[in-house]
Symmetry: C2
Subunit: 232 residues, 2 copies
């Protein structure tokens, strides 16, 4: 087996075997090199791989640690790769988001939390007032994010968040030909979701969320020209 793979397997094994749990500290690099039988370069490439996957964290001057191994955090790391997926693949992902978010929205409606409805209404008030593309995107994420959070499964929240972030790169809400019609349809979709949550109607909430995201899928399908993405 290649050196880096050997290091990679060794590091993963140390975690999988229970030798190192979440938050635990790895031995210093030279010691690990000796233990795994690889050079520092290979070891560092292996640690970088696991760091990219959210499994470990290297802290400059302090040490290398096992991450919390929280599924939501690990899924968040996906955004680094999901942001590069072309439109064709994004549509597949949007179906995943539609299914999961319909479920989460239903769960949120079933939860019967007056504070949630109030907060969502406040977000929509602000959302309906603005025409700025960036602000629309932020408030939309806040709306759906709050609902998913209320759904109770942080993993679902993280996963839908990553997909929503990717979709946001395709700027549907740029002022253009159909801007006003699209914006109005979107606003109405949000109100339908909020109404279902306010009325504590899980089935209606799932349907409204599903329809709202399906609408986004249709817009994206029409938006064939591949956009530029600005990375940080």
């Amino acid at each position: 087996m290649a050196a880096t793979d050997r290091a990679l397997t060794g590091l993963r094994q140390m975690i999988a075997s229970g030798e190192l749990g979440p938050g635990a500290k790895f031995p210093p690099e030279p010691e690990l090199c000796d233990h795994l039988g690889v050079s520092r370069s290979s070891l560092r490439e292996a640690t970088r791989s696991l760091a990219a996957l959210g499994v470990i964290e290297s802290r400059h001057g302090s040490g290398t640690y096992v991450s919390a191994l929280d599924p939501a955090e690990i899924i968040s790391r996906f955004s680094l790769s999901v942001e590069l997926i072309p439109l064709e693949g994004v549509l597949q992902l949007l179906e995943v988001r539609r299914i999961l978010e319909a479920h989460a929205t239903a769960a949120a409606a079933a939860r019967q939390d007056p504070a949630l409805a109030e907060r969502l209404a406040d977000i929509l008030d602000r959302l309906e007032k603005t025409t700025d593309a960036t602000e629309i995107q932020v408030l939309d994420a806040e709306f759906h994010g709050a609902i998913c959070e209320a759904g109770g499964n942080p993993t679902v929240t993280a996963l839908t968040g990553v997909i929503r972030g990717r979709g946001g790169h395709y700027r549907i809400f740029e002022p253009g030909a159909d801007f006003e019609a699209i914006k109005r349809t979107s606003d109405l979709g949000h109100r339908a979701i909020l109404a279902a949550i306010t009325h504590r109607d899980p089935a209606a909430a799932a349907t409204a969320a599903s329809a709202h995201i399906a609408q986004t899928e249709l817009w994206l399908r029409a938006l064939r020209p591949v956009p530029q993405v600005d990375l940080p």
Copy 2:
């Protein structure tokens, strides 16, 4: 910004900007180092990160290439990290699988493909005959995998596959106290799913799949002792 981060951002930008599409070849490492203003070590750590995420592929002696950027392949890379998630997180992930697979199973039932039903029946025949833990796991994966595939969304298939693989590490089917009862319940669940697909009843299929996976969640919840994982 740190050297490796600079390289990472630069590489991602080359893809995000459209300069390099799926399958495209990167310039040789020395040229990239010069272009990005980092040493070869730092560049290599950056490429390893992106390779771990499934965004690029390095082929020894040939070059470094942009991957297909297929969401299903990218999600498959997740298994490297998902396999290390502790039981608590696996339960959150299983809920994701339950939601997605219920949907995919319904879609498969709606598809009305006689060949699928035949293939599934064959798998179940073999599954019901064996008591070998590994073989059970393989056939179970084959059964659910075939259904998800028929569901029509490869991303859903990949995601459920990764989660199922993680759950499989907790060996529910080891011969033990409740082995026979568990096995019989599991077999019945599979037959219920197959019946719904054969009868082309999407709603029943979704319910059966959901119930089957929910049962698995219950077994896992009861299985508190953390198992050892054997990595390849």
